[in-house]
């Protein structure tokens, strides 16, 4: 027999408190008492029920079959099923939760991955930036160094500028500039630089003064040489004039002789030749001696302006030309110039040939003898009148006084002047050039 409590629909077992109402319905005590608190009625028949009219039942239940009958098993099965259902439900719930969580986890994993990727990117970017920073730092330090260097250089440049100004500008400007400077070092630098410049300029000045002295001395020497030469020239001129005078006198004499004795020109001509012979020789030797000594002097001179030994314009030709003048009669020199050769030849001719020959060939005796012969041969009256043709289409009266129109000076003067001209320009030109060079060197 299985009795159910209609409130909880569980079995009424022996162990539990079974209560019965006045109307005979059985319930568990807990169930009935709980209901009676709400309503004092019987749950089954709605009759009045109070605490007093409830009675406990004590049934005697047989122990034979135990709890193994169908009803007990059914109730147990129900319980188990219920539990199973609940477990299933909770399991499903948990499964759902697990799925949800897994989804979330997957999502989170994806997020983590993306974040990791981002982190890696950031890290690389960070490292790149770090490197860049490092590089920039290095650059910055370099720039700083350069800046400092630049600053130093600027300072140096300023000092140098100041120095330049100190050296070049006017004193007023320098003073004005120096007032602005407070740096002792800079000023000291300026002072040393100025001192150095001063020393240099002093040295230069001394040098220049020495040079000037030397040049002056040389000038004086030159002047003395020039004066010497001039005096010599004057002497020579004097001699020349005296000789000319002598010659004219002789000519005149001879003329007068010829007029007196036209057929005997031998003696005067020979005398003239004899007289004349030593003259040019003396003259020449004289001249040549002085000239040669001068040339040798010039050649051997230590003067920087007269270094003719090294110069191309050596005076050897001059010495060669003049030296043969002494033995001119015997030695025809191949080194002589054609003009000089001709002159020498003519001189030889004069010495070697007879007066008649000389009259006809020599340029020195060209007109007078012919004229004289004409006058002698054709018309002595004409010669008395002292009128003669000069060969230039006119006629001239014969001068009674000795005239300066002689052939000898013509021969001598061209030689001398030619040599002079040859010598002087060479000397002056070379000296001038040398002086110029010297000045350039000095500059």
């Amino acid at each position: 027999m299985h009795i159910l409590c209609s409130i909880c629909s569980d079995l009424l077992n022996q162990a539990e408190n079974i209560y019965v109402t006045k109307c005979g319905h059985m319930f568990h005590y807990q169930c009935l008492s709980q209901w009676i608190e709400r309503s004092r009625t019987c749950p089954q028949c709605r009759n009045k029920v109070t605490e007093r009219c409830m009675y406990r039942l004590f049934p005697n239940v047989s122990n034979e079959a135990g709890g193994e009958d169908v009803a007990t098993l059914q109730s147990r099965l129900d319980d188990v099923l219920l539990k199973l259902r609940q477990h299933r439900a909770s399991c499903k719930e948990h499964e759902d939760k697990a799925a949800e969580t897994e989804a979330q986890l997957n999502k989170n994993v994806a997020i983590v991955k993306s974040l990791e990727k981002q982190l890696a990117q950031r890290e690389t970017a960070f490292s790149a930036l770090k490197e860049q920073l490092e590089y920039l730092k290095i650059q910055n330090s370099e720039t700083q160094k350069l800046k400092e260097e630049n600053e130093n250089l600027k300072k140096n440049m300023q000092t140098l500028n100041g120095l330049q100004k100190v050296l070049n500008a006017t004193s007023a400007e320098v003073e004005e500039m120096l007032e602005g400077y407070t740096d002792v070092k800079t000023v000291a630098t300026f002072a040393t630089a100025l001192k150095r410049a001063l020393c240099e300029s002093e040295n230069k000045k001394n040098d220049t003064r020495d040079r000037l002295q030397a040049v002056k001395q040389k000038l004086a020497a030159e002047k003395s040489i020039v004066a010497d030469l001039q005096s010599k020239l004057a002497l020579a001129d004097d001699r020349l004039t005296t000789i000319c005078r002598k010659y004219k006198a002789l000519k005149h004499k001879r003329k007068s002789d010829a007029l007196e004795v036209p057929c005997a020109p031998d003696s005067p001509s020979t005398s003239k030749r004899l007289k004349r012979d030593p003259d040019p020789l003396v003259d020449l030797t004289d001249n040549n001696n002085s000239f040669n000594t001068m040339v040798v002097n010039i050649e051997n001179s230590d003067s920087p302006y007269l270094r003719l030994q090294q110069s191309s314009l050596a005076l050897s030709t001059l010495t060669l030309a003049t030296q043969p003048a002494n033995p001119a009669k015997s030695l025809p020199d191949k080194n002589l110039k054609p003009s000089e050769y001709a002159v020498l030849n003519s001189a030889r001719n004069i010495q070697n040939s007879k007066p008649s020959q000389s009259k006809s060939t020599s340029i020195f005796q060209k007109k007078d003898p012919t004229k004289i012969s004409l006058s002698q041969e054709n018309d002595p009256n004409l010669s008395l009148m002292n009128i003669s043709y000069n060969g230039l289409g006119g006629h001239s009266k014969l001068d009674t006084f000795p005239t300066p129109k002689q052939p000898e000076p013509k021969t001598r003067i061209p030689r001398l002047t030619a040599k002079h001209k040859l010598k002087r320009p060479v000397q002056t030109a070379s000296s001038n050039q040398d002086i110029r060079k010297m000045l350039q060197n000095i500059d």
């Binding site: 749950p43 129900d78 477990h87």
Partner: protein, 154 residues
């Protein structure tokens, strides 16, 4: 789960018996009920030979943890609310056993039988006379309504 409350035990038993031996025209949504034992959905068919023949209604049972000492909250839900003098258009049912005359000896099965008999005994399909007023002013919970029962005969 080991400590199951008395209300749950009873509900579980009731659900099992209802699913095993349901009254005619009544089926319980076992899955939903087993998911949540405090909220049942019961499908009900109009009993043949009555005014509600061929109609289908849905009842909702809400239980508190004081069940069976506390009565369940029973309302019609869904689109088809039976037109009946004791059923308001919002689904509230005027039935004494659901409030004052509730007894712990009653069950979901007995409530369902009572409602089926109530519907079956209806002679004229009409709303309660104070339907519109009640619907406007009533609480959501029909148990809070102080019912006065018009007709004890039904």
């Amino acid at each position: 789960m080991a400590a199951m409350s008395p209300s749950e035990r009873r509900l579980q038993k009731e659900l099992m018996s209802l699913m095993k031996e349901p009254p005619p025209g009544v089926t319980v949504d076992g899955d939903q009920a087993s998911q949540n034992l405090t909220l049942w959905t019961v499908h009900m068919e109009g009993v043949p030979g009555t005014l509600y023949e061929g109609e289908k209604f849905v009842l909702q049972f809400k239980f508190t943890n004081k069940y069976p000492f506390d009565s369940p909250e029973v309302t019609f839900i869904g689109n088809n609310i039976p037109v009946h003098p004791h059923v308001y258009s919002n689904g509230h049912i005027c039935l004494s056993i659901l409030t004052d005359d509730w007894s712990p000896a009653l069950s979901v099965q007995s409530v369902c039988l009572s409602i089926v008999s109530m519907l079956s005994s209806c002679k004229e399909k009409k709303r309660p006379p104070d339907n519109s007023f009640y619907v406007k002013t009533c609480n959501k919970n029909p148990k809070k309504t102080k019912w006065w029962y018009h007709d004890d005969s039904v």
